[in-house]
Symmetry: D2
């Protein structure tokens, strides 16, 4: 089968830009996508910085105005890795010119924006995905398969937290992630969105939520040492949820959980079994079945690096683990195949919109002190 090139234009080039660029570069080694990604151009406002980024990340060219990038006829995909407040405008413009769109999460800063983005890509008939990469850990995909096969039966509980600690030190400086106008919400939208996505993936739709948003440190030094800035988003959130399927869930996202560098963890309990996962040891899925022989019941610690585990066959033999970046490689592999087929696999902008609706409901509940329905 002949491989065709697909030309990538990326807006932004920081942490996520690096993760996405690497995935495009590496995906062809592990997978055989019909489309071969070509790093055509990267875009940033500072010419010096974007020139350096293009060289470092492997893009052939650069732009300093995203509108120019979006309009270039030699670009097939717009990949959006900019701060949250810019996603909507860029994605809609990209869709309007017929580009396929991969967008970082959260999809937007408001449900309205997310809805407009979703409308735009659907209207344009382009392929679209939102980059909830953790779905694409083999262990998480395997968890989903077990649930879909009914191995857990009806789901009773999910408990998920995403614990980090990089803001624990009050001297940690302001970033755009602490400014409401740029980011929408703080821990909620950044890491809470990930566990909302994992819960939607594994348990289904959220129905109602009640929760809390808290700013533990509200003044932080500016990067340029010119003074302090005000943190006007949450740096910790917690919420309860009821799901359409009848399950209930407990969620927490924080940057103040000392010793937890990147503890994205969940446990799902169903009628017939349970599952546990932890990003910091992401190749392992712990699985419990109630119908295991009496006396021999216990969580099995499964290293999801075998042929039977999703994506694992593309990598190394059993017991040879993969890492964080491979979640992006797997996602990009799906996205490229989807473009070739004219599809938009989950999590797509529809999922991004649903995610945003959950975040919005948590925000409303934090204000109202009551359970809020997730509007759809």
């Amino acid at each position: 089968m002949k491989q065709r090139p697909v030309r990538i234009g990326m807006v932004g080039y920081q942490f996520m830009g690096r993760a996405h660029s690497h995935a495009y570069r590496d995906v062809g080694f592990y997978f055989r996508p019909q489309l071969t990604p070509v790093l055509q151009a990267v875009c940033g406002r500072s010419e010096d910085a974007v020139r350096e980024a293009a060289s470092r990340l492997g893009f052939a060219e650069y732009e300093t105005d995203w509108r120019r990038l979006v309009e270039r006829p030699d670009i097939d995909v717009i990949d959006i890795v900019t701060p949250n407040d810019t996603h909507a405008q860029i994605a809609q413009a990209a869709a309007a010119t017929g580009k396929h769109v991969l967008c970082e999460k959260p999809l937007a800063t408001t449900v309205d924006d997310a809805g407009a983005m979703h409308d735009a890509v659907v209207r344009a008939g382009v392929s679209h995905m939102v980059c909830h990469n953790y779905r694409f850990a083999p262990a998480v995909q395997f968890a989903k398969r077990l649930i879909d096969e009914g191995r857990l039966g009806r789901i009773h509980h999910i408990r998920a937290h995403y614990l980090q600690d990089w803001l624990l030190n009050p001297a940690a400086p302001m970033t755009w992630r602490m400014r409401r106008d740029v980011t929408g919400t703080g821990a909620l939208g950044d890491i809470g969105a990930h566990i909302v996505d994992l819960a939607r993936f594994l348990v289904g739709e959220f129905k109602t939520v009640t929760g809390s948003l808290r700013t533990i440190v509200s003044q932080r030094p500016l990067f340029d040492e010119s003074g302090t800035g005000m943190v006007d988003v949450d740096d910790a959130t917690m919420f309860l949820a009821r799901f359409a399927c009848g399950a209930e869930g407990v969620f927490e996202a924080t940057r103040f959980a000392g010793g937890n560098r990147n503890a994205n963890r969940f446990e799902v309990n169903g009628e017939h079994g349970s599952l546990r996962w932890d990003l910091e040891n992401m190749n392992v899925l712990e699985v419990y079945f109630t119908d295991d022989e009496s006396g021999l019941q216990g969580f099995r610690r499964i290293n999801c690096t075998e042929r039977d585990h999703p994506y694992a066959g593309a990598y190394w033999p059993p017991g040879h683990i993969i890492g964080y970046e491979h979640t992006f490689i797997n996602l990009v592999s799906e996205f490229l195949d989807a473009i070739a087929k004219g599809e938009s696999p989950h999590p797509n902008f529809g999922d991004g919109l649903r995610n945003q609706q959950v975040l919005a409901a948590v925000e409303r509940s934090a204000a109202s002190g009551s359970w809020e329905t997730v509007e759809t």
Copy 2:
């Protein structure tokens, strides 16, 4: 120092009766309490059963009417291990006759009852404790010491769950723990009360809560196979909490978490460090300090079996673990010493009352769908 006897009268003899009896028998071997417990009499309604229990547990005599037990002049302590709805009456009667009282948790089925019990013991000037035994795991006491010493600084978070799975099978029969008139609440009052106590012990007073109570399986077979009974209490609960100190917490208690036989776990995150504990491996406390040398930061896995760890010196050399029953031995040791001194160490009936107020607030919030203030 001369040891004096203290004569125990126990009402009830099931699971908790067994745990308490063992503790009285064993405490003198490990500790040197001024008072030597004497298992004077046990009380139950069925003569055959209570006679057998007396023999099995080591009580010299038995009674079939708790009022007679309470009135016996040869009893110094009334230990209440009966179903929850009977605690109030027995405890008040015991206090009225000047008996010291040890009562199983939850203290009562209502705040009013708990308040009356507290008033009664205070008025009578007797020693009183409520049996939140998990406080007395050496690792938990050590956690408390670290917090009190300021090693964690200001507390930001607690997340605690108590997960069991013995009701996961819908064929598991009804017990009194599933009947509201006897038990008050279900998972909330039984195992939720334990994590409320641990949170109060470690983080301080609850201010407001919002939560949910759920009955997953509402019809269960009766023990006598005569039909089915209705479960009218929660078999799963979850709630959020705000503490007086500014911390926030996430709590969950359930009997439907497959593979979790007795997973009473917490994590506390503070300004300067974090702590983790798990009842199923109860000798271990995981401790993280933010001021550990850079590059060498990580949770330390501490086997709390050393001289430096509370109660551990009474047992075996480092690395030789103790088990569930030793939490009761430690508690009873404290209670006996307190009786000798005329004190009522924590957790006493005041703590039981505060605990009940938290449970009541969770119940109210489950009904109102809003945050409820813990009344004091």
Copy 3:
């Protein structure tokens, strides 16, 4: 069934004396042995110390000469918890007067002594056991059951180590465990003997061994601070073994493994599965089966606290763990039942002798630098 008393005379009263005494006191609470142990008399050379020990441990009387104890007609069982070099004489004298004998491990300091002890108890027709208590952890007994049922098939490997760290500090003072004349060997005979026993229990007889004995710190301060003493036994040993069944094993015992307070661990690998155990978390057995469904293969973490697990039914509900001391309670329960039946359950003096033969072969190999056959 009527319970009959069995009168215990214990020689020695230190660490092991305490563990045994507690087991006698507690066994009747958990088990219903036909024989009720009575702590009749304890023996030690220092009258003040043994008087205090009798009071502390609960013995009715004391003796200062073990020969007197052994000859007392009101003693049924001699329990030997003295330093190793005294076991042989006491045990033989006890057997000669028709006493049942429980002896701490290692059975003796030489194979000859162990053989003489074995002959003596067999000749006398008394019940005898050697106190390899770790066999009696429910998880270890469950491991044995799985192996006996053929669940692992043919055994290929055992790797076992017993790591401690209490001698890591060169300032740790001399004890009798560091003097060859008293102890025979050091780490080998003290903790190595335990893993030899576990291996014999699980895998069967040792055929040949080759190993090393090392004294890392050879001068230590005397307890009385009068100077230093010479350590003339190993404080670390390692050896390879071949078993009669064809399995091979790797063994290590040391007091210099920092951070390992009491890490008695083994892993057994067979044709159809594997087992792992660790004393520091002794309620858990990890079990792997090769015939588990593909993709769902992983070590199961089984909390051996359920009715299906040996001895566990005597204690608490699932998930409520037991500790170090319960291994002694279980062992004593077996011993009492065996006395009633006129039996000598494993590990008996025959096992102690075989154990000593393995230790001797390791000693010989350390001297010869070659594989040595375990003589029988």
Copy 4:
């Protein structure tokens, strides 16, 4: 700084060929080596297969005769990923034409061959490394740094095993790894060589060893189903070792340890602390210090993904783990930098030779049943 190309010619293209190719492709993204690897040509005997491999792995051209590859003037580096028996001839020929050489482990099948290879590269003055990739896990490099800084003091013990289970099933077919003429030794040379390298890296030179080689399944089906072949190498080995520094070690390598897919683990105990590592969770180093505050001593679980950890800064933020393939990327990064500087960093052919000498001593001891000196 200008980057110069370095042209790679690879002999072989199976598992290791894939791992090396990926590393050359990916290294420039994470590191900024002075030399940019160019995948010039790959070599294999079957034209169809090597053509496909070239396309799949990204080589520009292919050869079917390694002698032709070695003589090509447009090749700077010969990378040898063929079966062990071919390493010597290829490496010597490559050195003779002035090529730098990266060779898979074990360096050769005999000490003589390894010595000749070492002589050849030294004589030719080319850069050379042997691909003991596990040294290059950040956690392992960090372990080495701690030891070099004296944080563990004098080393007392190392225990290392490399457990796999892919031969447990007797129906697993023959491969070249089971034929002595091709592979030298079996589990010993393949995976045992890795733990020998890790031990040399961390503890220093081996002085004497004694061990065993065993073939558990000696007949296996041929791949082409034409019958069975004879396994004439070990599929399990175990050995004891004494080190020049005074430490002692216990080693085991096997393919019959069910449930252990790729369990390459070590623990090092020193005067002042201990270290533990496990390849299956390779980002974590467990570290214990004896001078941690009393009561707060325990193994710290360090996720070696921080700026302070070797290589980790090249990848992702703290808590975002890397995987198996990154050990090769790190190694190749070192190799490229070394070529630029005219150096041969460890592990080089000198290390490969020393490793071979250890393996040979184990082989001799397995035959002699005695301790054998590692010849140098």
